[in-house]
């Protein structure tokens, strides 16, 4: 009896035997993971140290002369406005496109169509910027004039209409095109995961295709659509080049979508100002970058939270 207790104590003390190769390999894998944490800590530290001078500088020395908040607030406004419009345009379209690919398109071509939409995501943002500037902006002038003529009583379309078309509306539409594939990909994924049994149960009850989708596919995919939209929103908030190229900025706070005086966005402002900036101006731009990071971080966290909450629910099925 006493010998077995001794043995057990001895076993608890003994370290597991690990080969040298195992130690090296697991050590380097762990090291890589830790490196990522170090880099992120670096991101935070360096950004804060570069932003610090702007935070403590007197208001009159910040560009614009009215302090940090007065400089950054219109940019935050522009960032949120353009991203929200993009989201409002892209989400319904993305849901419809995802539905088309998963439930309407002939099965043989569905995969190819999905790939085609994925290609949209692969186009570099600078190309969208050039396209928005050269094609969409001029093409939008007619549409904007029409909006102003018939819907001018809504403040959004108050005008006067920009003759170049380089408006926040066009910038938002370009953003919508850019986030469409992201939202579509997530929505497509959850629609495909709808349990076949639910769909067949609905069809067996005599539902038409649309009724089946409304009864089983959409409720099942709702949180997926929301989180996909949030991921798209995160992308739209941080997108730089498309906005910087398309938008003709004047740093105002206005809901007027089609005039020639538009609020800029944080990312576009950094890209436009940074190459010519020195000293405190750089610090100011880094500070606005931190604000942008905080906003996108919040949005992405929310998206992850929704995805994870859904995962817990679906685990029971």
């Amino acid at each position: 009896m006493s010998t077995t207790t001794d043995l057990k104590a001895e076993q608890r003390a003994a370290k597991p035997v690990l080969q040298l190769g195992d130690r090296i390999f697991s050590g380097s894998a762990k090291g890589a993971g830790i490196l990522i944490l170090v880099v992120l800590a670096g991101v935070a530290i360096f950004l804060f140290s570069e932003a610090f001078p702007a935070l403590v500088a007197p208001a009159s020395e910040i560009r614009g002369g009215n302090g940090l908040v007065a400089y950054i607030w219109p940019l935050v406004f522009g960032t949120l406005l353009s991203a929200m419009i993009a989201l409002a345009v892209a989400t319904p379209l993305a849901v419809a496109v995802a539905l088309f690919i998963t439930h309407y398109a002939p099965r043989r071509v569905a995969q190819g169509l999905g790939y085609l939409v994925d290609l949209l995501a692969a186009v570099p943002s600078i190309v969208y910027g050039l396209w928005g500037f050269a094609v969409l902006a001029p093409a939008s002038v007619g549409f904007s004039t029409w909006l102003n003529d018939y819907l001018g009583w809504i403040p959004l379309f108050a005008g006067p209409v920009s003759v170049t078309g380089r408006t926040i509306l066009v910038a938002s539409l370009v953003l919508a095109v850019m986030i469409l594939p992201i939202v579509t990909a997530v929505a497509r994924e959850v629609f495909l995961q709808t349990p076949k049994l639910h769909e067949e149960a609905a069809l067996a009850l005599g539902a038409t295709r649309w009724e089946m989708i409304r009864m089983s596919v959409l409720p099942f995919g709702r949180s997926g659509i929301i989180s996909g939209a949030m991921l798209g929103l995160g992308r739209a908030l941080g997108e730089t080049m498309a906005v910087a190229t398309v938008l003709s900025v004047s740093g105002v706070v206005t809901f007027n979508l089609i005039s020639s005086s538009n609020p800029s966005t944080i990312a576009a402002d950094i890209a436009l100002q940074f190459p010519e900036s020195t000293g405190l101006a750089v610090n100011t731009l880094v500070t606005s970058g931190l604000v942008l990071f905080a906003i996108t971080l919040g949005v992405n966290m929310l998206a992850r939270y929704i995805i994870n909450r859904r995962r817990e629910f679906s685990g029971a099925n």
Binding site: F25, F46, V117, G238, T245, I270, V286
Partner: protein, 362 residues
């Protein structure tokens, strides 16, 4: 009392009425009706609009609306409201898909048609050194893009792969959870912020105003690492545990099991993910704008001063073309075309990899 009200609302009653309203044999639009209807609408609207002055956009919108309303009405009369709604939704969803294709087609068409005019030998074998007006090329920008992306890939792929291996094969407990969380945070970093980080880091060592290719590569790495980690993690997770156990049971140590069994099984997916990650960062403009800037001449040393890259080259050629404007705009489009071609080629390569390297069953 309560029983009565319940019966009033009971689902059976609703079902009864709807079954009455929907006999098994009833009116149906012929199978060819959607297509014939579409052709008819297109012809009629086209005719009316060409008489008043044709605009393609207007033509498409009016046709779609007329078609949707017409089909809905016809179906409602013949087939009943439920079927009519179904047809209407089908039309809307299909139309939405076509709308989504417009930008893709338009972008590709614009870039190809505008970019082809300077898609010549000179574009690929000369830089912009001493060029004013016509001529010149983007050889230096192509090389810069390849060097910086290559450096970024060389830094991100090992770190990303090893981190994913740690998370899937070794990571348990607080460190793994922290890494997972912060990789999530990293995926949300806007590209311009990654550029600012790299700038801040290098400004600390080399003073403000520093511009070098390597800083751009660091910025791109910050964007690339989380993508590589995520996609590799997904791929490693779908390798069945049974294969790991089979290998362990043969007396193979864990690290050899990972190297020789787990990685080969998932290599197709991993390579695809890595290729797509490269394609994604290759098109990034903003971080390079703040860290690398632009140079007119060839610079092959990523540790010394400004370099040209395709996206930044395209951007500056377009927004500040100088005088005369035309040659510079043409160069911008051609640079965009080359960039798109490289990115699409990488995407196709990724598809190819996933097909060629996938485990075979026959």
């Amino acid at each position: 009392m309560s029983i009565d009200t319940q019966r009033e609302r009971s689902p059976e009653r609703e079902l009864d009425t709807s079954l009455d309203a929907m006999p098994v044999i009833r009116g149906q639009l012929p199978r060819w009706s959607p297509w014939v209807g579409l052709v008819a609408v297109v012809l009629i609207v086209g005719g009316v609009l060409s008489a008043t002055g044709l605009s393609i956009g207007l033509f498409a919108v009016v046709s779609a609306v007329v078609y949707a309303v017409g089909m809905y009405t016809a179906s409602r009369v013949v087939e009943g409201p439920r079927k009519a709604t179904d047809r209407l939704v089908t039309i809307i969803v299909t139309a939405a898909f076509l709308v989504a294709l417009i930008p893709l087609v338009s972008v590709v068409y614009t870039v190809v048609s505008e970019g082809l005019s300077r898609f010549d030998a000179e574009f690929f074998n000369s830089s912009m050194l001493g060029i004013v007006g016509e001529g010149g090329g983007a050889y230096h920008a192509v090389m810069g893009t390849l060097i910086i992306t290559g450096l970024a890939a060389a830094m991100s792929i090992p770190v990303g792969l090893l981190t994913a291996i740690y998370l899937v094969e070794y990571g348990k407990g607080r460190l793994a959870r922290a890494i997972t969380f912060f990789v999530d945070v990293m995926t949300g970093i806007p590209s311009i912020v990654a550029g600012l980080f790299a700038f801040a880091l290098f400004a600390l060592f080399f003073g403000p105003g520093v511009r070098m290719g390597f800083a751009g590569a660091v910025a791109l790495s910050v964007l690339m690492v989380p993508v590589v980690v995520r996609s590799t993690e997904e791929m490693l997770k779908i390798v069945p545990n049974e294969l790991r156990e089979a290998s362990f049971a043969l007396g193979v140590p864990k690290w050899r099991t990972i190297l020789k069994v787990v990685l080969p099984t998932s290599v197709a997916g991993i390579a695809t993910g890595v290729t797509l990650a490269i394609a994604r960062v290759m098109g990034e403009t903003a971080p390079l704008l703040v860290t690398v800037g632009l140079a007119t001449g060839m610079n092959l040393n990523p540790f010394d001063g400004r370099m040209a890259t395709l996206p930044v080259f395209a951007y500056y050629s377009y927004v500040s073309p100088g005088v005369p404007r035309e040659p510079s705009l043409e160069r911008a489009w051609t640079a965009a075309l080359v960039l798109i071609m490289i990115v699409m080629a990488l995407n196709l390569l990724a598809r190819l990899i996933s097909r060629v390297f996938a485990p075979k069953t026959r």
